[in-house]
């Protein structure tokens, strides 16, 4: 009995021992599982946090860029709009008061300058308005049907006067009746700026628009026979950090607003563009709009 009892006790101890080991092992696994869960959760949180931080950083960068552009615009308005306007006023007032001693030649020179400057001011103001209009991110955009050939002619019309002065001809190589289904206004603003750029950097020759629909989207090409661009200038324009180029070609002062607007507009419509150019051999810019 005692022996048996003793055996029982031993058995009991063994059972208790085995049980406790089982409990410890189970406990270990449970704790490990929980810890692992916590670690995984922590990792997820950290990733989420990192992603949010990245988003905020990007937003911040975009905001800073937009701020920089706005500051730049203020400078353009003061330097390139207000002061020329002042001198248009002063000059025309002087012409009206004209104490007949101004020669006829001088008067004509002044009038030509006033007419030229006011046209430039109109173009620049239009462009600034274009840019401001699209600054609202929530702006709703709809695709429309339009005729690319007609659009090209319409834009050429705006610049006809300037082109005639510089002996530049326009060529519309878009097939008549090319109906596109796209965001019309952004496309128009981009073409407007590409042609304005081409005009500014071409002394004489031809500016051609060509393009049409391909399988995956629309290709439009604007080609000029102007000064062309160096590789550095192209890289500068394409760069993410491009704010305003101070690249100048002869007498023309490029404030880079054109490409800023072009890039902004193309981003809105998910389009891409490529510049091909060599100094002295003209420039061609091709934009691709996915359908």
């Amino acid at each position: 009995m005692f022996f048996a009892a003793e055996g029982d006790t031993t058995l009991n101890w063994v059972i208790i021992g085995v049980l406790s080991v089982a409990v410890i092992v189970a406990g270990y696994f449970i704790v490990r599982f929980v810890v692992k869960q916590v670690v995984v959760k922590q990792k997820i949180f950290r990733l989420l946090l990192e992603r949010k931080a990245r988003e905020i950083h990007l937003k911040n960068e975009a905001l800073e860029k937009s701020n920089m552009i706005q500051t730049r615009l203020i400078s353009i308005i003061s330097h390139d709009i207000i002061s020329p306007l002042r001198f248009i006023h002063i000059s025309s007032k002087n012409l009206i008061d004209g104490k007949n001693e101004d020669s006829r030649e001088m008067q004509e020179e002044m009038l030509a300058e006033i007419s030229h400057t006011s046209k430039e001011l109109e173009l620049l103001s239009t462009n600034i308005m274009n840019w401001i209009k699209y600054q609202n991110e929530n702006r709703r955009m709809i695709k429309e049907q339009f005729d690319l050939h007609q659009m090209a002619n319409q834009i050429f019309g705006i610049f006809q006067g300037l082109a005639r002065q510089k002996n530049i001809t326009f060529k519309n190589e878009v097939n008549t009746g090319s109906i596109l289904y796209q965001y019309m206004e952004p496309v128009k603003i981009v073409l407007y700026n590409l042609i304005l750029n081409a005009l500014n950097f071409t002394e004489q020759g031809c500016i051609t628009i060509s393009g049409g629909e391909s399988k995956k989207g629309i290709l439009i090409k604007v080609k000029d026979e102007g000064k062309g661009m160096t590789k550095d200038q192209i890289d500068n324009v394409m760069s993410e950090h491009f704010i305003v180029s101070s690249a100048n070609v002869d007498k023309r002062k490029g404030h880079g607003l054109g490409y800023l607007i072009i890039k902004d507009m193309l981003k809105f419509v998910d389009a891409k563009f490529v510049i091909k150019s060599k100094p002295g051999q003209g420039t061609s810019v091709t934009i691709f709009l996915p359908s």
Partner: protein, 203 residues
């Protein structure tokens, strides 16, 4: 004696307008126009002139960069700065090159004419009014070299580009950049831009 005047400005409307004013109001017949720093240097080399009306910012540089050379080559040339930039910030920088005339482009027409008249007659420039607000403009304490580099910083140029353009070492540019930040109590280009906007420094 008729003065020989060169107008250096990058806007043709402003050049033509000035030329008209000089001709019709001040009866100056010999007026030449140039539109860039380079053009100005070529014109000066081509022939003598007595008076130079000089804008501050050109497509190929700023007046601050070419004035030292002009002074060295033509010590007797009379120069007047004609700019949109505030005189209280920039006028002092030009005084060390013996340029004491500084006319703001937004000045009223009558006053501008009087000022130009004095300049052409070699009469001393009228003393500017000292405005209390003006003295608070944080950019007034910048030295000429700092103003020169400020222009490029505000235009978004990187240290390397500025060093290349001005033919200086990158470490010089970095030092000057730091001094500009210190003097204006700013920490970044963004802050500097905001401050420039607030105090009407255009670039």
């Amino acid at each position: 004696m008729q003065p020989d005047i060169i107008i250096a400005d990058d806007h043709s409307m402003i050049r033509k307008g000035m030329k008209l004013l000089l001709r019709s109001q001040l009866h100056c017949k010999n007026v030449t126009e140039v539109n860039s720093c380079n053009g100005l240097m070529i014109e000066l080399k081509n022939g003598p002139c007595s008076h130079l009306i000089l804008d501050m910012i050109f497509s190929d540089g700023t007046a601050l960069e070419i004035v030292p050379t002009i002074r060295k080559l033509y010590p007797d040339l009379k120069i007047m700065i004609f700019s949109m930039q505030l005189s209280e910030v920039y006028a002092d920088a030009f005084k060390q090159y013996n340029i004491h005339y500084y006319l703001n482009k937004s000045q009223e027409e009558d006053k501008s004419l009087q000022y130009i008249q004095r300049f052409l007659n070699d009469e001393p420039a009228p003393a500017g009014d000292v405005d209390e607000l003006v003295q608070k403009n944080p950019f007034t304490i910048l030295a000429p070299r700092e103003l020169e580099i400020l222009h490029y910083l505000l235009n978004g140029h990187h240290t390397n580009d500025i060093a290349n353009t001005l033919n200086l070492s990158t470490s010089t540019i970095s030092t000057v950049k730091k001094r500009i930040f210190d003097k204006t109590e700013t920490e970044s280009i963004t802050q500097l831009l905001e401050l420039a906007l607030l105090y009407n420094i255009s670039f």
